[in-house]
Symmetry: C2
Subunit: 431 residues, 2 copies
């Protein structure tokens, strides 16, 4: 998909390895999800697991050459994965050096998750010669099964040995679950004449919903910034990007966005909300905006990205509430899949949003690469040309514009269509 | 499906015609949804429309022999169908005699909806020799298209001529849209030695979500009760029945539940919250409970009814919030369709509900006609037998029991599985 560029940044290659001084790698260590009853067996088998060409990587690592300031945001689900608890403790000092992450098993809702997450950090720290408190740990996959630690223990050695400054793709493969395409992005930007780089990778196409620190996202940068300012930039930008993307309304238990800043770019350290902070924050916005769009477009089973832009709201909160309501409507999502311009459903989703406005002022338009069309004016569906609407809907990125006609508030949210494949993927995820 | 019986009522046949003194009928008047551009054409054609055997009824009427007290609850969507506005005005005096209702076209989000809804009442009143203010009007179908009044005008005569004390089924057919089965229920109960009867019909299998006065529901009774007490009984019971059923999270623009009480049963008129009120309210609960279950089970594309019972909550509100979260989860709904006992997803949906409780106390069980199984204890997924789980999930009514272990609050919510057919039905609803 086309990347959206806001302000003065340049897109570059390399994902999490784009900034200088960050190595990454991914290996296939042999994790496999099995019913709990067969877990002992699986543990035993896993010790002798032979990775095959068919299987994808399931264990990844990102390591900075030097100590980094670090910040993170986490899921708002009351059920929090054990890795979230451990990472929170490790980031209490605002510092980190490395990330270890597995897919296949979420290490959540099981009796010994905390111990296993801690053990993952210990194994990583030992192999890297670091303090375990400097390790960020994350897991994604099936909830409620015991995580076999043996495959991870035996996978650490090849994982560390294979670390490289170009290892972003193999790390990214290891964190993917139902994703159908790798999602990474990197930008270059300038702080006081120094060129800085920021890169990121993201996994996630299901259990994705606004109001969480959505999915697993790892961001690296060589810019110099204090932990406090890093946290502020992250929290601010996640709110208007990942937290405005929804696939299915389900807020996961394990999701996390973390960022590590090594400071090796040589810029004057950012410690206040100065001009440099604005430039840094904009770079982060570009990263998260594009990841949010990629994530929504690669929603489980999705064939189309739906972008809803609300303008003319009394305030931004109202605009966001309305836009979320539109991108979350199952009826609207099904209709976009079917390429059917049922404008009444858009009014319906606007109308049941939990926000205050006068529906008789609301205009609705739809656009894509193939043109644009007015669907509603002043609360009524207009007499539009069905052929034009069909053409607009034939594209794979559809924009719905809702004008409330009341004030200056605007917001954009992202979602995807609801398809047969969403049901298929989730009807039997475990097997 | 098996009817659930609470307290001292007896199920009887006859739907809205089960109480003495209520006639009903349905006809095929020739409404058809067309793109707005073709509407003039459709209007012209409709004047000469010849009902064919293939087409279902699309215009219904219920008429009481005597004046009734009446009450209603309506959708909470800010977009309100024009018939809702007209019915609200007509019920301001707490009285009604008849209902006129069409399917195919929702008469909403169009420029002349209010005039058309008023015209429907006038046509009905004229044909019945009644005051138009005593007519309840409702519409269901596609939003945002002009309602052609000619088919309705020409359909009124055969509609009124065919009214009968056994016309409940033909009326019911006329209000169905994507429903796959007719939904009606009636009960007998006693008030002070007098036998009273209450009957109802409901349409709706999509755009169904808690917090609205869900779908179109028409209730008749021969019990004698004041308008104020009737409204109280209706509002109280809708809250714990229809408002706890969800199909797709979409709150419709046109939905309404209305009840007419003729008072011909000869019971002492209910004017306070006395013992008789309790008996009456319980009869209404039986009606609405069973309609809610039928509606959820016949959700668009659904193959299974999901019932989530939450117990041990600090209060009823907490229990309801958690139960709704479970029955509304797309992931859980897909998993039930796939008959996959992914217990982690249930914890996940419990965890992201907007309620306060300690997740480490939460137990989860699942049951059906084929048995029951413990899926989780104290926040962890248990080592359950997959074969037993498969057997439980093979039934078409699945109960999920969530125990919060904190207090006396309980609530039950209803939903259905998410299937390929939901997407198919909604991908191209208009054509």
């Amino acid at each position: 998909m086309d990347l959206k560029k806001i302000g003065n940044v340049k897109f570059v290659y390399g994902g999490v390895c784009a900034p200088r001084g960050f190595k990454a790698n991914g290996v296939q260590c042999g994790l496999a999800h099995k019913p709990l009853g067969e877990m002992a067996e699986a543990n035993a088998a896993a010790n002798n697991a032979v990775p095959t060409a068919k299987k994808k990587n399931d264990l990844a690592m990102i390591v900075a050459d030097t100590e980094c300031t670090a910040a993170a945001v986490y899921t708002t689900n009351k059920v929090k994965g054990a890795p979230i608890l451990v990472t929170k403790e490790h980031l209490a000092d605002g510092k980190a050096r490395a990330v270890i992450v597995n897919s296949v098993n979420a290490n959540t809702c099981n009796p010994d998750g905390y111990e296993k997450a801690t053990k993952m950090c210990q194994l990583a720290a030992e192999a890297l010669g670091l303090d375990e408190k400097d390790i960020i740990v994350a897991s994604t996959g099936v909830i409620g099964q015991v995580l076999p630690i043996e495959p991870i223990a035996s996978g650490i050695k090849p994982l560390v040995e294979g670390l490289s400054y170009g290892g972003n793709k193999s790390a990214l493969e290891a964190i993917m679950t139902t994703d159908t395409m790798p999602k990474e992005v990197a930008v270059e930007f300038e702080l006081g004449g120094k060129t800085c780089v920021m890169g990121a990778m993201l996994k996630g196409s299901g259990m994705i919903h606004p109001n969480m620190a959505t999915t697993l996202t790892f961001i690296t940068t060589d810019a110099d910034i204090s932990a406090e300012m890093l946290q502020r930039a992250l929290s601010d930008n996640v709110k208007v990007t990942l937290n405005r993307a929804s696939v299915d309304g389900d807020t996961s238990t394990n999701d996390m966005v973390c960022v590590m800043a090594s400071g090796t770019a040589g810029n004057e350290k950012i410690t206040t909300e100065n001009e440099d902070f604005g430039v840094f924050s904009n770079a982060l916005y570009n990263i998260l905006l594009n990841l949010a769009r990629m994530m929504a477009k690669d929603g489980e089973g999705a064939t189309k990205l739906i972008e809803c832009a609300v303008t003319g709201a009394a305030d931004e909160k109202t605009a966001e509430t309305v836009a979320k309501s539109v991108v979350c409507s199952s009826l609207l999502k099904s209709m976009i899949f079917g390429e059917d311009a049922n404008a009444g459903r858009i009014y319906c989703a606007v109308g049941y949003s939990d926000a205050e406005f006068d529906i008789s002022n609301v205009d609705i338009d739809m656009s894509s690469k193939s043109g644009s069309i007015a669907l509603g004016r002043k609360g009524c569906v207009t007499a539009f040309d069905e052929d034009v609407a069909k053409k607009v809907l034939s594209e794979d990125e559809i924009q719905i514009i809702v004008s409330l006609g009341e004030g200056p508030g605007t917001a954009v949210c992202w979602g995807c269509d609801l398809t047969y494949d969403y049901v298929k993927i989730n009807g039997d995820y475990r097997s």
